[in-house]
């Protein structure tokens, strides 16, 4: 390589068992998505056969910002009726 540069960053999601969700396990550098998938197998699954792996370019992820957290989440705090726990359950239902 004539010029030193980093390869793009990918986020890796692994589903260890059928029926479970894909979980974020970490990230890695790779030249493209196909290579990222192969490295994900080597870096994050080792002998985990039957796993399903997703990779996505980190730059394609749109994330909420911590600085906006107040506007994003706080308004929910003073509206307890938005939470299921606000409601008194009939005895028959017991706990939820």
């Amino acid at each position: 390589m004539s010029k030193s540069r980093y390869m793009p960053l990918f986020e890796v999601f692994v589903r260890s068992k059928r029926g479970l969700d894909h979980k974020h396990v970490g990230s890695l550098h790779a030249e493209d998505a196909q290579q990222a998938l192969e490295y994900a197998r080597d870096v994050y699954t080792r002998r985990g056969e039957g796993a399903s792996i997703w990779v996505v370019k980190s730059s394609d992820i749109v994330a909420s910002q911590e600085s906006e957290a107040q506007d994003f989440y706080d308004p929910m705090d003073d509206k307890p009726y938005r939470h299921a726990t606000h409601y008194v359950l009939p005895r028959e239902v017991d706990n939820m």
Partner: protein
């Protein structure tokens, strides 16, 4: 497993151990972290394979896998020469890996139908690893061959060096011929067409010239090695040579 099958298993174990050792030499030195782990994984696959073959061979001869791996000199190793060549640069390591993976897939596929249950079992497990190895090394051939000028030149140089070592993979000595007839071993010569097709297709995808023919060396199965094996074994065997029987 009789003595003939045991000798056969040791040859296959030597192939695996020697290549595994060459691959471990990249540990901590690969071009980047992800590739470092991938190479180390491949190395572990091969060392695991060597252990299975040695264990199978040792049952009858009463030798442990450690004694077989660490207690023999270069002349007693029966690996093919291509496995022992120094790791070279990254292009050389990948080009060798690709030529071997393209061989291993049909070879292990065939061995998995061996009449010897142990050999068949080892092969059935290992062929899955080799299919993955081939996918990786074939991918790298395309990246390197169709990459930068430098990666291309290095890959061409590697293939030139390796071209003379591939014929040995298809050689049958009298032991292997006998075992192939008995349905225990694999007739290597019959794998060559499939191997050539795989290699030709990937090299074409990689815009690389086809493998040169016209020279070849052999001797590994008779214990006649390149100058490189002894040096490699001195490192591989050091601990057991210095402290025989050491357990850890």
């Amino acid at each position: 497993m009789d003595a003939r099958a045991a000798a056969y298993a040791i040859g296959l174990g030597d192939d695996a151990l020697v290549l595994g050792q060459r691959l471990t030499e990249w540990c901590g030195k690969a071009p980047f972290l992800e590739e470092d782990l991938a190479l180390a994984n491949t190395a572990l696959d091969y060392i695991g394979r060597a252990r299975f073959f040695y264990q199978a061979a040792g049952v009858n001869t009463g030798r442990s896998e450690d004694e077989i791996a660490f207690g023999r000199d270069a002349r007693e190793f029966t690996n093919h020469l291509i496995y022992e060549l120094p790791r070279g640069d990254f292009a050389f390591t990948m080009a060798r890996q690709f030529l071997i993976d393209a061989f291993m897939v049909p070879f292990l596929d065939a061995l998995s139908t061996s009449r010897d249950e142990q050999l068949a079992g080892i092969a059935a497990k290992a062929v899955k690893e080799s299919r993955y190895h081939l996918r990786r090394s074939g991918d790298w051939m395309v990246r390197l061959g169709d990459g930068t000028d430098e990666s291309r030149q290095r890959t061409i140089a590697a293939l030139d060096t390796l071209a003379g070592y591939v014929d040995e993979l298809f050689e049958m000595d009298s032991l292997e011929a006998e075992l192939a007839t008995d349905g225990i071993g694999v007739d290597r010569a019959r794998l060559k067409d499939a191997w050539q097709r795989t290699v030709a297709r990937v090299l074409e995808d990689a815009t690389l010239p086809q493998l040169a023919t016209g020279w070849n060396v052999s001797g590994g199965r008779r214990g006649i090695h390149t100058e490189h094996l002894g040096h490699m074994l001195s490192e591989l065997q050091f601990v057991q040579r210095a402290y025989p029987g050491l357990q850890w």
